[in-house]
Symmetry: C2
Subunit: 269 residues, 2 copies
């Protein structure tokens, strides 16, 4: 499983302050910690609503690239900020992402097609609403994949996000179950080995870092791994979550297990 | 998911000492703790090799039944001890279990048929060896279910154990993966909704209660839940493992989530 850090996010108060002060040091320090966490990719989320989104995207990317060579993921619905990111990223980033919402189909999908970048497609209705059943998710995936192909995006560059919602929603556990089924069914439904990603932190959104919410995150991550998830966006500074991903990956890919090696890995988790 | 406590086991030094002293108090105390853990069933394992296996089975059952009304599971390859257990259990116990080993087919399976008890069938070769691939497990399951039916055991009373092995075995992660696939495939293979059980502690056998082994247990339990496991035999005094089972069950059965309720549940996990 590929791990994308969700830590460089405007909702993180330290990141917000650094953006406000245009101070690269806190971002570089955080990027160094992320690099040492086991993350494979770093998501860059300057927030959706800022007028100076492109400027902030550039500030964050340059700060992060000063501290690490990890690949980046451009997490914004702002097309200009994506264009800026595509220009200054040293490695080809992932675009995160588009959906069937018309403005995203018109502005973001073409950027993905033209840039040769991998791109996340969210299973959201055209009005931006979250699907509320497995059937809705599968129907959206079918339409999204068809439209992406029609626009010229090769299937191997599409990464589908079936949308994890807070478990505390009235239908939160049912949606969590539907996301698992969706991940399992998508390759057969679409007829190619489509990659999948979820934003894990959404599951316990609002619940903070309580014991219960951390344990739920770990348990659901293991269920997602068993269902066949390829990529997870998560707080990589939660060592137990990263270790859970590593354990599940060892099992799914039947890597030889060494307690000695893993004792070191798990130290202080 | 149904939780069976594996704590009343001769390998537990406190249980061994109580058996040696024929002292019911430590067993009653342990049974009370198990009752409060969230367990649904208590496995009774007096050890396979004792000459006085029936006597020890009776001692453990009577002690446990003094402290709790939970259903029991008779975990022994000794047919006499199973007969004793069937006589004194207040509720119908689970017999744990038989396999294609000839002496178990001849002595234990008929006890299961005659007693109307649910029975665990282990996916072991006729010589007692553990299968080393998914194909071997599926072939053994097919033969085991056929032979059980032929002997008169109704399919709904068969519980298949695909055999979890230590993850530290050379092929431990591959076997862990095969067990997941086996659990997922069995209902279609056998043509009925066969129940499945695993002994979770085997996965980290010999590794003790290190952070890493506990985390592996939790992660694999969540993967098993997603694969469709019905019943798990585990150390129910590991609160995080029990909580993991509870979280996965809430998702699989889409029960409404309440943080308030779960904060209480997870307290001190």
């Amino acid at each position: 499983m590929i791990l994308i850090s969700d830590n460089i996010h405007v909702m993180n108060p330290k990141v917000a302050k650094a953006m406000n002060d245009m101070d690269t040091k806190p971002i570089r320090d955080l990027a160094s910690r992320i690099k040492n966490s086991g993350a494979n990719i770093i998501d860059i989320n300057p927030g959706p609503l800022r007028k100076d989104c492109s400027k902030m995207m550039a500030f964050l990317i340059n700060s992060v690239q000063d501290a690490t060579h990890l690949r980046l993921c451009l997490d914004t619905p702002n097309p200009e900020a994506i264009e800026t990111g595509l220009t200054i990223c040293k490695d080809k980033p992932i675009i995160n992402g588009f959906s069937l919402e018309p403005h995203k189909m018109e502005k973001i999908l073409p950027l993905a097609v033209d840039s040769d970048a991998e791109t996340v497609g969210f299973l959201l209705h055209a009005d931006g609403k979250v699907p509320r059943s497995l059937d809705e998710r599968l129907a959206l995936a079918f339409t999204l994949a068809r439209e992406a192909k029609k626009a010229g995006l090769p299937p191997e560059r599409l990464i589908i996000d079936p949308i994890v919602v807070p478990i505390s929603w009235e239908d939160g556990t049912a949606q969590a179950r539907d996301v698992l089924s969706c991940i399992r069914l998508l390759p057969d439904l679409l007829g190619f080995p489509v990659k999948t990603v979820v934003g894990l932190s959404n599951l316990t959104s609002g619940a903070g870092a309580k014991t219960a919410s951390l344990l739920i995150e770990e348990a659901y991550l293991a269920m997602l791994a068993e269902a066949g998830l390829d990529i997870v966006l998560l707080n990589v500074l939660r060592k137990r979550s990263v270790a859970t991903a590593f354990i599940c990956d060892s099992i799914k890919n039947s890597r030889i297990w060494s307690w000695a090696e893993h004792d070191v890995w798990f130290l202080n988790t």
